[in-house]
């Protein structure tokens, strides 16, 4: 059995008499993304800070590549490099974006200033931050600051990056783009990521492993899809609470009802792909970035063809689908649906699809069905209802 890249064994941490971490065990494989979920204030950030070496664990061990880790404090060149993306970004407000990102290289390497500048600018280019080099953090938007902080975390090409609620305070589109960035850069730079996030299910789209923390311990470990089978009422409450609360707040009772109907729907259809379910009305054929918006009818027409062939129903969610396929140009819904179908058929990419599929269940369906803008299109609603027997 190979040694996991990061292994945490029985880590305990108290502040005074308050026990925050009560024997945490966690493993992360090299190049994987592990998401740690849990209620606020239960010690997720403390765990990350223990891994980073900002806090010293009272008991237990933190091993990186099988060796005891001194966290970021280690000056040894053999120690795997580690970066930390802080919840509040922790950018130096008296420094420009360029200086902020260059700082780790300036302070820890002998790289020449010109080479550092070129490296930072190249990273800015990759992160679509072309014109922020001379801006101070207070001159940037929240999303830009987050990307600059991500650039700072990536500049040293770390082997392990700890993300502490990387999407806090961002709008849904920015959240998705941050998760997409993390997934893309993980592929490019091959780092191992530990993410603390409350953005469920979005964060699970990019995760290989989900861990749920409660009362100072890891209570659930598994693939994101395994969360569907979980029976722990506290975890279920945690995962589902958001939807119910939103439903209550928005007065949208349909969401809860739909959620209850989900097991029934699942028995009928294995995969759902939702098209054009943005809450905004967009003109069919218009484009946003690489995505083309199709009409609901167009999408369903694509779906119907597939259904005939395989007795499965697909919905494409333009926003989350674009995100889930991670930068593949969604030229047409049908092409993507067929690609997914092919992947399902030959099983080559099943993991990714099931992961996506999990994230799109009731919550996504609710999103599709709730916006009046979509249901108001009766002709489309009719097609959907006839095809998939969804509750109207």
């Amino acid at each position: 059995m190979s040694t996991p890249f990061l292994e945490i064994r029985g880590v305990k941490k108290s502040f005074g008499s308050h026990l925050v971490l009560d024997g945490i065990d966690l493993q992360a494989e090299r190049g994987s993304i592990t998401t740690i979920m849990g209620k606020s204030g239960i010690g997720k950030s403390v765990l990350l800070k223990c891994i980073a070496g900002i806090y010293q664990a009272d008991e237990g061990e933190i091993l990186i590549e099988g060796k005891r880790s001194a966290g970021a404090r280690s000056r040894s060149p053999d120690t795997p490099r580690l970066s930390y993306l802080f919840q509040g970004n922790a950018l130096f407000d008296s420094m420009t974006a360029m200086d902020n990102v260059a700082l780790p290289l300036v302070e820890t390497t002998k790289t020449k200033p010109r080479a550092i500048r070129e490296k930072v600018l190249a990273l800015f280019e990759q992160l679509d931050l072309g014109d922020v080099a001379d801006k101070y953090p207070n001159q940037m938007s929240g999303g830009m600051q987050k990307r600059v902080a991500l650039a700072r975390a990536l500049i040293t090409q770390p082997q392990l990056i700890l993300f502490d609620e990387p999407t806090t305070g961002l709008d849904p589109q920015r959240k998705n783009s941050v998760f997409t960035m993390i997934a893309d850069f993980r592929r490019k730079f091959d780092f191992t990521a530990i993410i603390v996030s409350h953005d469920i299910p979005e964060v699970l789209f990019i995760s290989d492993r989900a861990e749920w923390m409660d009362r100072g311990q890891i209570r659930f470990v598994g693939a994101p899809t395994d969360l569907e089978q979980v029976r722990d009422p506290v975890l279920l409450d945690f995962v589902n609470h958001r939807n119910e609360l939103l439903s209550e707040l928005a007065g949208q009772k349909g969401r809860t009802a739909l959620f209850a109907d989900w097991p029934e729907l699942r028995r009928s259809y294995d995969f759902f792909v939702v098209a054009n379910c943005t809450t905004e009305r967009r003109r069919p054929g218009s484009e946003l970035g690489l995505r083309r918006f199709v009409s609901y009818r167009e999408a369903v027409a694509a779906v119907v063809g597939i259904e005939r062939k395989h007795s499965q129903v697909y919905f494409l969610d333009e926003r989350h689908f674009g995100f889930a396929i991670g930068g593949v140009e969604a030229g047409s819904v049908q092409a993507e649906a067929e690609r997914l179908l092919q992947a399902v058929s030959d099983g080559s990419n099943l993991k990714n699809i099931t992961r996506y599929h999990w994230g799109t269940h009731a919550y996504r369906l609710a999103e599709v069905l709730n916006p009046a803008a979509l249901w108001a299109l009766e002709e489309n609603a009719e097609v959907v209802a006839n095809t998939h027997h969804l509750p109207k």
Binding site: G16, I54, Y84, P104, E107, T108
Partner: protein
Amino acid sequence: MEPLETPRVSRKVLGGAPEEASEAPERLTFVESLGRSCILAVSDLGDFSFFVVKALAALVGLRSWISKLVRAIFEMGVRCIPIIITVGCFTGLIIGLQGYRTLARFGSESALGSMVVRSLVNGLAPVLAALMVVGQAGSALAAELGIQRNSEQIDAIETMGVNPLGYFVAPRLIAALVVFPVHTAVFDIVGIVGGYLSGVLLLGQQSGVYWQNVHDALEPSNVGGGLEKSLIFGFVVTAICAFEGYNTHRRSSETGARGVSQSTTRAVVYSSIAVLALDYLITSVQH
């Protein structure tokens, strides 16, 4: 063991304060309270000593330290010069005015220059200069570090593999050793000129007499004593302000802006007390 990084609850525990709001407060007798306060004070002193030693040790291996030192000298030194000149001038004016009148009662007004120099050089100048720098640069240092602590910038530096004490604190401690003597010297010069303005230009003492007295009173031991004090004051007050700001998260009973406010206030108060207490001690030793 991490005496500096442990969040503030450790201090609460040491102090016996309740951990949870729901817990009943422990009733202590006067003697117990006194004993606990003494233990806390000794513990704080130990933390402070650790902090200073670790900050100085962090100088080893600090990259581009010259640029950091220059920046610290600019922030602590150059920016404080206007206030040093202003306060030095008024101090000289007051000593000149009061001194002349006092000396005139005994017919010794010719000794005004000597009085101004002796009052300033090894007495008021290092103390007042230090207090002014505490008020301006010291409070700014404590607030800056406190905010950097709260916004996790200090943690961020640490995760980059850089020693935050070396990055944030050590250059300022060294800068203080340069800046405070210069401030004291500037205070001396401006104060003596202030004494000249009030004694000679306003009250009519002869210019030559004043400057001759100044010259006679400016002994190397006086000047050296004043500079010695300024070196010690500079190091101690900078260390106190940095300590309070750096440990905002564990030394303040409040969090966020209020925590920074508390640590800044404490930095100024403790530094001011330290300056006066050290002045007494050093003066006792010098004489």
